[in-house]
């Protein structure tokens, strides 16, 4: 099955700093989503971005499907940004339903 690798596994920032999270995937995809899992366990949709670039406030994401990677940018980080960021993909050659998740990036933003 498709492999999803996220880096870095852990990241510690001071409030106000910027960061870039990366997601590499091993095959072509027809769905890529970024999620934020907060300390209470909720999975919050950030972006649906199988290709191209999107921005939402301090967050933006870019997926280069031909090179099989996606980047999530967080600017002017806040303590509430802390949590685990997951990238999840749907293999275009596989199931039409299943999302395969990466292991996540644990982000800690210190005040």
């Amino acid at each position: 099955g498709i492999q999803v690798e996220q880096s870095p596994p852990d990241l510690i920032l001071q409030e106000g700093a910027n960061s870039t999270l990366r997601c590499n995937f091993s095959d072509s995809v027809n769905n890529l989503q970024w999620f934020h899992q907060n300390p209470w366990g909720q999975l919050i949709n950030l972006f649906y971005i199988p290709s191209g670039t999107k921005q939402n406030g301090r967050l933006s994401a870019t997926t280069v499907a031909t090179e099989r990677y996606s980047l999530l940018y967080i600017s002017s980080s806040q303590t509430t940004d802390s949590g685990v960021y997951f990238c999840a993909v749907k293999d275009s050659g596989g199931s039409n339903y299943k999302l395969t998740f990466g292991k996540g990036t644990l982000l800690t933003v210190n005040p």
Binding site: N31, Q33, G41, Y48, N96, Y97, K98, F101
Partner: protein, 115 residues
């Protein structure tokens, strides 16, 4: 906007007991998914339903079964619970009308603890 509703939010069971988790998808969504997230792990796909029919199956134990009802809500039934079943169980929903490129929206999860 309406979101995916899951109940109960927390559940404590003894080994060998049964548990039923419920999921109410976003209105007009026709596809429901179940995922299991163990402690410190990423979510793993269990099973999905489209228009009340099972559409895909992942690493779901034989002790688990699920179905989608006529009102599109779904239930995950878990029997002979084991300690290793302790996890966060997510339900997600989407609309196939958007084609293959639909977004899956996740519920708040049910946290199951097996003692």
């Amino acid at each position: 906007a309406a979101g995916v509703i899951q109940s109960p939010r927390h559940l404590i069971k003894e080994k060998r007991e049964t548990a039923t988790l419920k999921c109410y998808p976003i209105p007009r969504h026709d596809t429901v998914y179940w995922y299991q997230q163990g402690p410190g792990q990423d979510p793993q796909f269990l099973i999905s339903f489209y228009e009340k029919m099972q559409s895909d199956k992942g690493s779901i134990p034989d002790r688990f079964s699920a179905q989608q009802f006529s009102d599109y809500h779904s239930e995950l039934n878990m029997s002979s619970l084991e300690l290793g079943d302790s996890a966060l169980y997510f339900c997600a929903s989407s609309s196939q009308l958007a084609g293959l490129r639909e977004t899956q929206y996740f519920g708040p999860g049910t946290r199951l603890l097996v003692l």
